[in-house]
Every structure is written in structure tokens, then in C-alpha cells.
Assembly symmetry: D2
Homo-oligomer: 340 residues x 4
């Protein structure tokens, strides 16, 4: 009855998911792990009663592993996901699905050949109660057909290692996935604007950036990505439709009236904002594994789309031009293309 | 066409009303003033092209005075209001109408004998857009029958001259008037609770106080009066009815997100909060004078009620007991008693 | 490593806790249950792989039961809690700890004789993130010393079986516990006001009620209990201190701007409001059992206090008089009395 | 002492300003009017005790006219403004200053030749308390250097006569002026995006439009113009700086909690939103006339800039291309160019 999970990659995010699968989600147990740093793998394994194995392939192949979680270095994702598909085991892969569109397509081919969905990609915003409520409002016709979406993704500060391309790849990628899902629509072109940069950034970085996207249905999205806003972690999303608009709420927080101001605290990092979404994500995924049904979360196609769109954003950020996205025009029937 | 106004009392509030009648309200002009400090009266008069006269009686009697504004020391209000009634001239009297219930009754008798309303008392909250909107919601049945009202009246600090009785007489008196009008109901009993006092007060003062009131219809009101709250000027009012509630808004203010908090400024004094209400109050009163119709603002009966109720609050604050208010059970027909 | 739990009482709340201990909280398992309705007990037991036993005593005594959860009919609570203490097993008892103050005192005596805390009472508000954040603000001196608390507890509707006494016993009891904890203070007297009743109630019911409480430190609390407010489930709490105030947030919800209004949905029942608090409550309690440490949640003394205070509220609601509470003046050292 | 004003154009907006100058602003009087519809002019004149004259030129030249207000048909504005400058009289011109950039330049030349400012253009947002407060926050360094501005301008519905170009000329023009003033910066290029159009529009209209602007300092502005949003009149503005952001407040409105929702009314037209701004605009302008000082409101240069920028927006809306604005690179010293 307990789902036995093998985890490939025991870095920070891997450890967090292991903790979640052990102490937060019921009905799951981590039985085997692998990390390129074998000492770290041993230590993490010991802490939860799992075995450290000498390779990702062995984790995938282990008899006491029912499903695989891939949280290793991005460039190794494709290999492990393909391995899991080959073994016919469900695999949860942290974003990105693969670092190149080509590798994503190889995964899509493999999964399609397998015949049922095995892959879920770790875009957790779809599990946030605010976005879910917003989607319900839109689906129920509460605002008419969507026409525009205004978004902002702000972090207090970014480290020196954060590059201009990461604004699309690591930051905007969350909005890309959740907006495609929210609107049930596909991105068709993108354009990146470069506002006056903040002096609070590391000099190599273009920060902030404004990412404009247009969907197949003509919805216009503007997304401010600002990773050195200083004041905190702040996620905004407003969908404007033909008859009204719906806004993501700010997290609930006590209001203090004092020293001449009425104020609430702004969260300082994503943990406070999306911790519940991560938990729900793993609960629902583990539930699908336990019941032997296909996962309902972000698919390999969604992972491919995210990679294609972030590539286009990076290209536009560098060139300044609008970049069209033809690769996503035909979604395979296997990934719900027929429904559209 | 211009309404010529005589002002009795040229202290701070008198000067503010003279400024208002000269520079804010159109169609009015101050022609005569009196103050016990004749030098001050001369100076104020000169600044607006009016005459300073040697007594309130002469202001009231002056041929170029169509209507009188009384903003002198409280204990002199009754004399001037009675004088204006005797002269058959409209009179706007700042709160209180009179400092004793007996004097209020003498004014009521005189005005009733005169046969039409001449007196308006300066309770300006009825002219605030928030309270007016709240009243419309209640009258339209938007919350069902009112059952409870929760209020707070907070000032940043109170001077040493502010006494415990003034919490009722000078502060709560505004809520008393506006709640009677908001609910179209009468106060029948009061009780004052004495919370742990703040150490930020002058020692002689009971601050905060919680004033409980019950209306003839059984509506229960709780009013926090806290005049040393430190953080600003803050007026709250929430009416709870059988099917919903309606809340007074906080004043509109830009929100700043910075230094880890999302915040708006709290006003520091009543001017920013009720300046518009004062202007509307005088515009509507001057309009009634210009058109020769009876004033529609707070009446002598409302002034009497305020005095009777604040007397009861002071008595309860000192004794701790619930104090019934029989004096207001029968409102004269002249003051709308028949309608009730 | 897994905490094995016996549950006495498999009614609605019992089943919900069994679900929680099985599917939400990790590290716990329900091994034995009892219910006066043995068929129901069998069915519930079967659904989670537990045994149904013929009595509460046998559940308490079972070798595979490490800790006991009591969710049976209120009048039976004392018996089972005393049984668990006698067996030296940790026991989580849903409110009330006992239906009489005398029974609460018997539990206190038994637990004190045992020498370490075994009892936790199910007041879950202390585990709500809003109240916890509010407490941090108060403890950190963010508003100075507390002087007043304004609260409201509103339900959309109450069934015919809900009595006027239940407004204190079942509804206000949550505020009583959380306010004692929030203020780290004790209630010393209470008074219940009876506003004009809503016509939307069952006729036998006094609804709404306003409950006034005074603490040992002189803090004044006003609590509106309104169980037929029609519009939803609404919990409000504002603590006013010497230098500012802090307000409980409303639950986060998407805002919709449409049809001429900007609006958010109000929750319709307590599940959406306190589900997370229940989960946290059991996680922390199970954690204390697993680690063999004393529970940190509401104690038997807190359960006793709640019963004494609700008794006083019911007395005041019936008599109209202020009711003093002497019984809580001396908190035993065993329950932290020395610290105060 | 009273400022005597001649009004050219007695249509809807002209009548509203005549009402304002007669009944709201003190110290002003309308003495002469002209309208191409002489019957309407006569009627309006009679209502305020003014004369109707046979031409705008005669209004400008009248001995009892100290200052001129131009509210006639847009294409006639330039003629009347130039006439007033020639007569050396202060002139308040409703937007647009002129319908072509060339005519604006002629006005600038004439005014510069005159040597002191005589012209004020009717952009009233600078007089709105929210924008003024926002400007203070920015000027005081409260958010660091501005980097981005996110705006929306929404109307419930637009009539059939409203064209796609009017989205820039009549609607966005208000944001154009207030943002130039707010940022103390100049627009350098614009680009209009065309989202999927709402089906609630008249078919010839592009609605909504997203207008992107870049300033000389590199600030990026995105402005949603949506004139058939159905739900009401809604003005949003958020300025994001290096250390924080500041947001325009929504108008204060009572909140109603009922029927399962917590809600406030959205205004239905601009009157409720900017009535106070119009009053303040005329009070300050009349004050400058009365004191014989230069007006401090929007200048002829601001009027020129608005025309140049709206022209560029219309061009971009039609072509889809980014349109640069070179004409505003050198602001004459007469209009504060030296300061920059």
C-alpha cells in the first residue's frame, strides 16, 4: 500500500522532497537514493532508512522502487526520465524536463511509444489554492473570455550566479506553465522588454525584465520579472476578461496598525508562499502512483513547451525582437491535442 | 442672493468656519463677528471685510446678518441660540447646543413656539460620504434590520487638559449623533467599561473607555474611545444586521510596498478625515438659508439628545452602573416624533 | 517509530480525526477504536485496518495503543481521560475536557498526582497561523501592552438543536481558550448582553449575544457571537494595545471585479477556515507522543478554565448580571502557575 | 477681487465648468460666453447672469473678462488659445491644446514670444489626491528610482462613436500627461499591442489595447486601455522602483459582507472618481489668475507633448510597429527645459 520511491539527486531540493515524502505526505516512503556525491547520498539515505545506490539507473531498476523522483542537475534529467520510461515506472521530474527541446522531444516520443503517461514535471503552481480558485472562476465564466493577464514575479535579491537567461529559465518558467494551464491556451510569440536596470543588481544582469507573450487565442500577457526588488517575494497575477477580472490574493497576514501606518508583512521567500502547493503536488502525484492511474499534473508536453518558450524568451531578451513559436502549434493527441 | 452671516466666537473653530464661509462655500459672506476678545474679533473681521460688533446680540440683530453661526465658548451657546430664535434668524450652533439639558429644553421650547426649525447643531459626521453610503445600504435593506454596531474613535494623543468626562462630551458625542441618525433609533441606556488604562495617558485620565449603548429597538452598540492610541486618528464603524454587515471605509491612501511590508499611512488628525464633511455641512446649511427652507441637519432635539446621553455616559463612567435614559422616550411631533 | 493510537468515539469528529491520523499526519496509525454504536465502530475500524474493541477501557488498555484520542459524547470524556491517566498513556480529548468543573478538577488532581502532563484538550485555534502570528506580534511588543480585544464569531446558520447556552459552550469556547493563550492572562469576570434578536433564528434561541470579559490584568474583551448571520463563517479578532493594534487576517481568496463590484468569497463553514489548524494540532501532538515529551497544547487546566468560564457566561446570559470567576485565581504550579 | 471669466463653448463640459466656476469655486464669476449654438449660449448665460457674445474673439476681448476658458470643439481650440495669448489674457484650454502638433507649436511660439506663461491645459489628474500622494512618495525617495509603471484605464462601455484612435487621444491621454508629471520624465517611444478584442465592443473598435511606452530614463510603462470592461470605471497605477512600489488607491467605499461575499461597489463613471480633481484644478488655476502669477498646471508644452505622443500611439496601433518620438527631445528652457 505504501508507495516506495527512489530519488535521484540529493541536493537541496532533493532533500526537501525526501523530507516531504517521509514526513509530510502519508503513504510514501523513500527506499533508494543516488547522488553524484556519494557521501551526501549515504547520509541522506541513512536519515530516512533508505539505501544509497551507485547510479541513477540502479535506483530506477531497484525492485523496491515503485516510482522515481528526479531532482539531479538539469542536464542529467533527460537520461533519468528516459530510463524510468524504459523501466515502465512513473517518474516525477523537477523542472526542467530537459535542458534542450530536442531532449524533451525524445522523452515525448518514448512516453508516447509506451502508450500511457508516466512523466510528471514539477511545476507546482497548478497546486496553489489561489491559482486553482482563479482557474475555477475563469472556467465558470465568471469573467467572460480572458483577454489579458498582468503578472509580476519578484524576489528580494538574486545571487551573483543568477544570469539574465535565468529570468526566463528559472523564474518566468513558473508563470509560463501556470498561465498555459490557467488559460487552457498556448503561447505563440514572445517579446522581452528591458527597462532601466536597477542599481541593486549584479552588473552582468538585466533586471528587471518585462516579458510579453501572446497566446493562440490572442490573449496578451505581460509579466514583470524583477529579482532584486529588495522588499520581498511577491507573486501577482490578474486575468482580465470580457466581463470582469480576477486577481490572485496576497498571502493572508495579520495587519498591524502602529507608528502611523497600517501594514502587513510581505513574505521573504517562496517557501512561505508555495509550501502548501508543493505538499499538494506530491500528495496528488503519490495518489496517482498508488492507484496505478496516469498522473494529472504537468506532462512531458508541458515540460517541452516550457523549454521551447523559455528558449524564445532568452532569444528575444538578447535580440530585442519578437520571437514566434511554431513548435507548439500541433499538440499531439496523446497529450490532449484532440481536445483543443 | 449671497447669504450674509454673522459669526459669534472667533476662536480656532470660528476662524475655520469663517474661512470656509469665505473661501470654500460659494454664496455666503461673513458680514459681522463678535468675540469676547475684541482685538481678535477686529483682526478676523478685517481679514474678510466684515465688521466686529460689541456683542453677540448686536451680531444677531444686525440688518446685514441673514443667519448666525455660534462658535463661542460652550456655556454661552444657549444665550446666542435663544437670541437668534427670538430674532427669527437661522442659527448654526457648534456642538454642544447647550451645556445642560435644561438649556437645551429652553431652546426646544423657544423653537417650537416659533413654529419652524431655525436651529442646526454642528454634528458633521452626517455629511461624511462614508456614513452617508452606510446609511443608504441600511435603508435599502442591504443588511436586514440592524442588530449591533461596533465602533472605535481613536486619537493619537490627548493633551493634559482633556478629562475623562470629555471622552463622552467631546469625543463620543460624534458617534452618538451619527449612530442615532444612522439607525433612525434612540439610545435608551448606557454603560461605560474601564479597561486597563494605557500608560501613555496623563494620569488623571481614564483612557481607553468602552461605551456600551442600547437603543429603543434593542440594537447594541459598543464604542471604544481611545484618545492616546499613539498611531493616529482612526474612526471605525461596522453595523451588523440580520443578513449582513456594512463597514465604514478607511480613507483612501496610496499603498507602499517596501522594507518588507505593504502599508498605507494612517491619518494623524481629524482634518484629513472630516474636512469634506465640514464643507458639505456648511454648503447644505447655507443652501437651506438661501432658499428659506428649514434646515435638514441635526436639530435642537438632536442637540438635546446628545447632551442627555453624554451626561448619562459620564455618570456611568464614574459609577460603573448602567444608566437608563427616560428623557428621550417621547420625541415631540415638531421634531419628527410622529413619524416614529 | 509509528505512534499507535486508540480512538474512543467514532462519530463525525472521531471519523475526521481518524482520517487525519491515517491520511494526513505521518507517523501515526489508528490501531483500535470503540464506539457505543458497535456497528459503526466495526465499519470505521475496517476502513483503516484497526480493531473495534468492546469498551473505551479496553482501547485504553490495549497493548498496541500508545496514546488515546477521546471524541465520544461529552459527558463520557472525564471517564476516558481519567482512564488514560490511570494507564499512564497520553490522551488527546476533544473539547470539553469534561462537562462539569468538578470532573475537570478530578482530572487535574489525577494528572498532578501522575506527575507529568498526559492530557491535551482539543482547542485548535492555537494552531492557526493567523493567531500564532498575532501572538508573536504581541509578545514581541509590537503593539505595547494589550488593553482591549474585539472579536466576532459568526456562523451562517444554526440548527434547531442549538441552544442559547451553546453559544458559550460550543462557540465562544474557542475564543475563550485562544484569548487566554494569546494574552497569557486569565478571565476574571464575564457579562453577556442580549441584543435585539435576529428573526432568522429558531425562536428559542438568543442570537446574537455579546460576551464581555475582563482579565486579571484588566484587559476588556468584547465578543460578538452570532450564529445565524446568514452570509457565512466569519472569525474576527483585533487586539488593541498601548501603541497599536493587530488584526487577524481574513482567509486569502481571489478577488473578482465584475457586475459593478469588487468582491471576495466569504467561507461558508469552519472546515475551510481551520482545517490547517486541526492538521497542525495533531502533527504537534503526535510529535510529542513520539518523542515521549509532555504535550505543549491546551492543558487540563485550560480545559477546566474553559468549563468554568462558559458556565459563568451561561449564568450571565440567563441573569443579565456580571459574574465573577474566583476559581481561576490560583493556577497550580504544575500548570505553569509559578511563572505568572 | 472676483476673477471674471469668459467661457468659449457651452456644451456638456463647458456647462459643467460654468457650474463649477459659479457654484463650487469661490472668487470666480462667469461674465461672458460664446457657443456656435447661440440659443444654447443664451440659455446658459442667462442661468448664471452672464452675457452671450457673438464670437469667441469678442469673449476674449471683453473688458469684463479677466481670463478665458476654452471648452469648444477640439479643432477650434488653437484659434481661441492664440487669441487669448494675443490679448495677454490667461487661458485655460480643455484637452487637447490643439488637434495637430503644428498648431501646438504655434501656441508655444506665441506664448514664448509673450514671455510669461498664459496657457494651462485641462489635464486634471495632476490634481487628484492619489496621484499627488504617489508623486510625493516617489520624490521623497520612498521607492528608489522608478523603473516600471503598470497602469489600467477601464470604462464600463464606449459608445458607437468611439474610435480606435480615441483610445489614445481621449482615454490614454490622461495617463500620458500624469505619468510624464509623476516621473518628471519624457516619453521617447511607444508601441501598441492589440489583444484579442472583446465581443462586447462595437465591431469597428480595437478594444482593449495595451500601450507600451519607454521614457528618456528607460522607465517602461504598460497601460491597458479597455473601454468596454462592463463592470465600471477603474483607474489603476502602480510605480515600481528600485526599492519598492507605490499603488494608487481605489476610491474609499463602504464594504458590505452579505450573500456569501465581502464586497465594495466599483464606480460607474469618471465623475465620482475625479470630481474633486476638477474642483482643485480650477481652484488652483483661478488662484493663479487672481494673484497675477503664472499658472502651475499643465503647460502648452505638456499639451504639445500629449498630442505628439497620442499621434505616435495611433500610428503604432495601426502599424503594429514601435514608434520613436524625437520631437520631445529638446524641451525649451521657457518650459523648464533647463532644469532637466
Amino acid at each position: 500500500m505504501t508507495v516506495r520511491i527512489g530519488v535521484i539527486g540529493t541536493g537541496m531540493i532533493g532533500q526537501d522532497h525526501i523530507r516531504r515524502l517521509t514526513h509530510v505526505v502519508t503513504g510514501t516512503r523513500v527506499t533508494a537514493v543516488f547522488d553524484i556525491d556519494s557521501a551526501r547520498a549515504e547520509e541522506v539515505a541513512a536519515s530516512v532508512g533508505a539505501r544509497a545506490l551507485p547510479s541513477g539507473a540502479e535506483v530506477i531498476g531497484a525492485a523496491d522502487v515503485d516510482a522515481v523522483v528526479v531532482t539531479s542537475w538539469g542536464p542529467t534529467h533527460a537520461e533519468h526520465v528516459l530510463g524510468a520510461i524504459a523501466a515502465g515506472k512513473p517518474v516525477f521530474c523537477e523542472k526542467p524536463l530537459a535542458t534542450t527541446a530536442e531532449d524533451c522531444l525524445r522523452i515525448i516520443e518514448a512516453e508516447t511509444a509506451h502508450g500511457t503517461r508516466l512523466v510528471q514535471v514539477g511545476f507546482m503552481r497548478r497546486y496553489d489554492s489561489g491559482y486553482r480558485e482563479m482557474r475555477k472562476v475563469i472556467e465558470s465564466g465568471g469573467i467572460g473570455e480572458p483577454l489579458m493577464v498582468h503578472c509580476a514575479h519578484r524576489n528580494a535579491t538574486a545571487p551573483a550566479s543568477y544570469t539574465s537567461a535565468m529570468a526566463a529559465q528559472d523564474t518566468a518558467v513558473h508563470e509560463i506553465d501556470v498561465l498555459r494551464w490557467l488559460l487552457d491556451d498556448e503561447i505563440r510569440s514572445v517579446q522581452v522588454l528591458r527597462p532601466r536596470p536597477t542599481r541593486k543588481r549584479h552588473e552582468h544582469l538585466q533586471d528587471p525584465q518585462i516579458m510579453l507573450m501572446e497566446t493562440a487565442e490572442g490573449v496578451r500577457i505581460d509579466l514583470e520579472v524583477f529579482v532584486n526588488c529588495q522588499y520581498g517575494y511577491d507573486i501577482q497575477c490578474e486575468t482580465v476578461g470580457e466581463e470582469g477580472l480576477v486577481r490572485l490574493p496576497d498571502p493572508a497576514a495579520v495587519a498591524v496598525r502602529g507608528r502611523g501606518r497600517d501594514s502587513t508583512a510581505v513574505l521573504q521567500d517562496w517557501k512561505g508562499r508555495f509550501e502548501n502547493a508543493f505538499d499538494t503536488e506530491f500528495r496528488e502525484w503519490a495518489g496517482s502512483v498508488a492507484s496505478g492511474t496516469e498522473p494529472t499534473g504537468p506532462s512531458a508536453w508541458d515540460g517541452y513547451a516550457a523549454t521551447v518558450i523559455t528558449d524564445a524568451l532568452v532569444e528575444s531578451m538578447e535580440s530585442g525582437a519578437t520571437v514566434g513559436i511554431e513548435a507548439l502549434e500541433k499538440r499531439p493527441a496523446f497529450y490532449g491535442g484532440a481536445e483543443r
